[in-house]
Symmetry: C2
Subunit: 424 residues, 2 copies
């Protein structure tokens, strides 16, 4: 290509008059929760669903059926929209690179950014090169590498498959190299990481437009259960203003360094001395940002749409001193409607979000949020609603329990030694 024939960069394109048509690859609950804001902003949105029964597909006005890992299906969606974005990270990078080369659709985030949320080895290598704080890590290509990591770490290491993990899948804590031999054979290479002795987990969310405009949300505290996001408090309690700004700055720097478009979630470990280390990245609305739907001026789903549509970003300000979110993970109840009714009866201030998914133990089926003053009380209210909904109004824990008596309340302590990634 001659120097005179360069493609225009995004910033050089003239602003479009009509709102861009957005295609979302994947039809899980994240795509579903984009629908309301897309309707309000009048942004045409089509979801690509593997199955018409998927969470977003059953309610969306525009659905195309096809798999995210079939290039023809992704391409078919791309021909119908102006911007392609994602419900999850599992679209093969090569498909997206070819779409970018063809130039008929905007891919946001682009594959060069997205790969850092898809491939943990790429993420660790690049963040380390950039000087962003990471746990100590090893690129493991054979058993000898793994033995060396265990030796250098003087204790158990966390082993992760570079691609395809989610919600605790693809993560093991091992003390002997043989315990990951099967994965090495299967994946060819692995990421090993120091097991961080963290005091709590934080998450920093940031939205970034193609031209670089960036907005950071308040840093939140998150608690995982069995590798799945369970509880979030916004803003993170006992985080001083300087630490908050430092972490927001880190998230914004990562978004800029990696060229992210859309929402970026940076999950972090906080250690006893206040140091933070990057755990995982997600380039889409993230479970640790669900609180913002009810608790911020601009919710993360609206913000993601604004960012990928290259619209000016909205204010991320809290609508109350504290906002909490608790996930509804499949429990004893086979249907959520009776418990949801009971939860609404017990607490008119609770916001209930249901994803329309069939119940399986531990599955993410919805979430509740509460806005107010005191995070301890808000958590108690959210957990009471959670128990009513996932275990049913007849369950012994839920029935007639006074507010908060059935929850731990207070600032939650992580009860797991490691917190692997979580995705929808």
């Amino acid at each position: 290509m001659s120097d005179d024939l360069q493609l225009p960069t995004e910033d050089q394109r003239a602003p479009q008059t009509a709102p861009p048509r957005i295609g979302v690859v994947g039809a899980g609950q994240l795509a579903r929760m984009m629908l309301g804001p897309a309707i309000e902003l009048d942004l045409p949105l089509t979801v690509l669903a593997s199955d018409p029964a998927e969470s977003a597909a059953v309610v969306a006005g525009s659905v195309r059926t096809g798999r995210h890992d079939e290039e023809s299906a992704v391409r078919a969606l791309a021909t119908e929209v102006d911007v392609l974005t994602f419900d999850h990270e599992h679209v093969p990078t090569a498909f997206l690179e070819r779409l970018v080369t063809d130039g008929d659709v905007q891919v946001r985030p682009g594959p060069g950014a997205l790969v850092h949320a898809q491939d943990k080895l790429v993420m660790r290598r690049h963040l380390s090169e950039l000087g962003h704080p990471c746990p100590r890590w090893w690129h493991v290509k054979d058993i000898a590498d793994l033995e060396q990591a265990l030796r250098e770490n003087s204790g158990p290491v966390v082993v992760k498959t570079p691609r395809g993990g989610y919600d605790g899948h693809g993560v093991r804590i091992i003390e002997r190299a043989e315990d990951a031999a099967d994965w090495l054979e299967q994946h060819g290479e692995l990421l090993a990481e120091q097991k961080v002795a963290f005091t709590r987990e934080l998450s920093a969310q940031v939205a970034r437009r193609p031209g670089g405009q960036t907005t950071t949300y308040p840093v939140v505290q998150s608690v995982q259960r069995d590798g799945v996001c369970y509880e979030v408090v916004a803003p993170a309690p006992d985080l001083d203003e300087a630490a908050q700004q430092r972490i927001q700055g880190l998230a914004a720097a990562i978004a800029a360094d990696l060229g992210v478009t859309g929402m970026l979630a940076v999950e972090l470990f906080e250690t006893a001395d206040g140091t933070v280390l990057v755990n995982e990245l997600a380039m889409r609305p993230h479970n640790t940002g669900h609180w913002s739907m009810d608790g911020a001026v601009t919710g993360q789903f609206e913000q993601h749409l604004r960012a990928v549509a290259d619209l000016p970003l909205g204010a991320p300000d809290l609508l109350a001193p504290s906002v909490v979110m608790v996930n509804l993970l499949g429990g004893d109840a086979s249907e959520l409607a009776p418990g949801a009714r009971a939860a609404m009866e017990a607490d008119p201030g609770i916001k209930v979000h249901l994803y329309g998914k069939s119940v399986r133990p531990g599955r993410k089926l919805g979430h509740v949020t509460v806005v107010g003053e005191d995070p301890v009380q808000l958590l108690a209210r959210a957990h009471r609603a959670e128990k009513l909904i996932v275990d049913g109004p007849e369950s012994p824990d839920a029935a007639g329990s006074p507010m908060g008596a059935d929850t731990s309340g207070g600032r939650p302590s992580p009860d797991r030694p490691d917190a692997p990634e979580e995705t929808p």
Copy 2:
């Protein structure tokens, strides 16, 4: 029917496990704004649209095509859902009465309640019987009745067609009986009302479940422009707590007296001595409640769905000391997207809602809301956004105007002698 064969009342029915399927007759912006909350609460919702291009029909996941004034179309929707509710008041009462008699679907609000929002003569007669405060009014059956009304009123009277009016249509202010002769011939009977010398207009919204549970929203102040709702401030400024409670009590009493299910809006005139008089009723989410989407714990669209689905009602509390809403009424711009972009750029705190409708002068195309502290400043911000969106970013009024300089600001003064009904 024998005494032993009574149909169960709604309260005697066993609570359903599955969430009820909801059918909305009409597919305007009110149906559209129900979609987001229906998705989040996982309430299946189908809209009945006359035309697939209507505001809600272009984005809903489930659409049936048919007219609200064709009984077969309304019946076809009724066979697919458990609860029927409404985007507007224009479904013939007789259709609904027959559906209730057949008993296969819940009609909420029921026809016996809804008729008070459909027929202004029925409304005035019943509210007067119940002792609720109304302007002085006359049932006009011929020219002599109208002459008598003019005589008794010693000045101009407001003449309204009993059915079918909206947004200033079906309302005239007359000084001579001949000026309504055509309407008398056309409609057979008319409502004549005293022209109230009001100081401002208020609106009180209340939600009511089938069993009687009732929740009242803060009383708001509204301003009409050319008979169309234009601007709302929540809560109404300078309304003391006693007056607020008195008006909320009035709205709740009307909801109970008329047996309303769903949202009820009571539009009121406030006079110089603090008296309030009922102007109009609407039994659905109402323009004067749009602020609640962004400014209350439970927005009116979610609340309406909860009420008609017989779910416990949500908290109506404000999320900020003040919330304002300004309608986007068709102006100079032929498309709203450029101005919406400019408005978002100018003010990240603005919430923009677009209804996906083609632009016509004065048509309701969307609304903006802003939450914060000071209603004067919030109104200035909302009007700046409004002008950018409806007149376009290039318009002389909008371009580069400093915040609030292009608006009247402050507590708005109604600039019209009367404020007829407004519907979507």
